[in-house]
């Protein structure tokens, strides 16, 4: 009899912990990918067109992940992602123009 409420308490605690870890872990996963993707903005001119395309795709994927976050995180990181993605698109277009036959 004594053990039943204790069991319920332990289960509730475990569920809360799982939910919290999921949130933290979830944010941690996209944050790590964001850092990796947007770390190359200063080197963008040295990257190949294929690499830039891959980075742009990463940014698009990250936008979806960030869109499910709370308001402030969305406000900050969507803007950062937009700037990062736009720069890569800009550099890719510049390189594509150079490669185009005259």
């Amino acid at each position: 009899m004594i053990y039943r409420p204790l069991k319920i308490l332990i289960m509730a605690g475990a569920m809360t912990l799982c939910l919290a870890l999921q949130t933290v872990h979830g944010a941690g996963v996209w944050r790590a990918e964001f850092d990796e993707t947007c770390a190359k903005t200063d080197d963008a001119m040295t990257l190949a067109i294929e690499e830039l395309t891959s980075l742009i795709e990463n940014c698009t994927r990250l936008e979806k992940a960030v869109s499910s976050e709370e308001e402030t995180v969305r406000k900050v990181y969507l803007r950062r992602l937009q700037m990062c993605k736009n720069l890569y698109i800009f550099v890719r277009e510049s390189k594509q123009l150079e490669v185009q036959p005259k």
């Binding site: 190359k40 200063d42 080197d43 900050v76 698109i89 800009f90 550099v91 123009l97």
Partner: protein, 267 residues
Amino acid sequence: MRTILFSVLVLIVGTSISWGVGGMKKRKLPPYEYGSVVISNFSQPAGIPPVVFDHWVHRQYYTCRVCHVDVGFGMTANSTKIRSTDNMKGFFCGTCHNGRSEYNKKRIFASCAKEYSREEYKRCVKCHVLERSVAREEEFFRFADRLPRETLGNGINWEKAEADGLIRLTDYIEGTSVKKAKMKIQRDFALKAKTEGMPDIIFSHNKHTVWSGCELCHPDIFVGVKKGATKYSMVELFDGKYCGVCHDKVAFPQTNCQRCHSKPPQG
């Protein structure tokens, strides 16, 4: 009587036309006010004074890039829509103004709080300014005194101050900024001036990337991918486009012609 009435009418119409064409003469800002931004999306509706953000206080410590890219502040006043809750969560102003971060071993004061005492209200008015203080003006002149001079804007040659090591800029905030490899030094290039007799513009990517990085300008401010494709006019610049996004607001004013219209590049 008719002559007097006619003269008065001509005077009124003439003044109105010149006012309409030329506008009110803009007040020349004192050096301590140059670069000040009034932020008031939500303050005044909440019954507190707007925030007066002084760029000179912050740009002696941080690059433009770290605030406008990493922290996420917009490039125009009131575009970021900062809430006190954002600051309290450690974003925007709260990235540094959190009561825990330090700069040069000095604790940076916390920004917004949900509840505060009468004593703590002194902290609120550091940013939510009721009126300009003489103490702040004196603080500016004490700061500017040791830096290279310039005639316009803040009266400080920020570029020279940074190049001479008189100010050391932080381009990275732990937990916010992304670790990046050092940027390759970019070459200067010339832009042909449209007006005959005006020296060409020497644009230095190197000087700009020290403060702004790449993504602050490209592509939001400078859209053209092909060099020479975008034709810039001083009218557009004075209207706040292209170079005018920063110059005339925070960076040195565009009326300082020779800073850009200088001699052709060597070699």
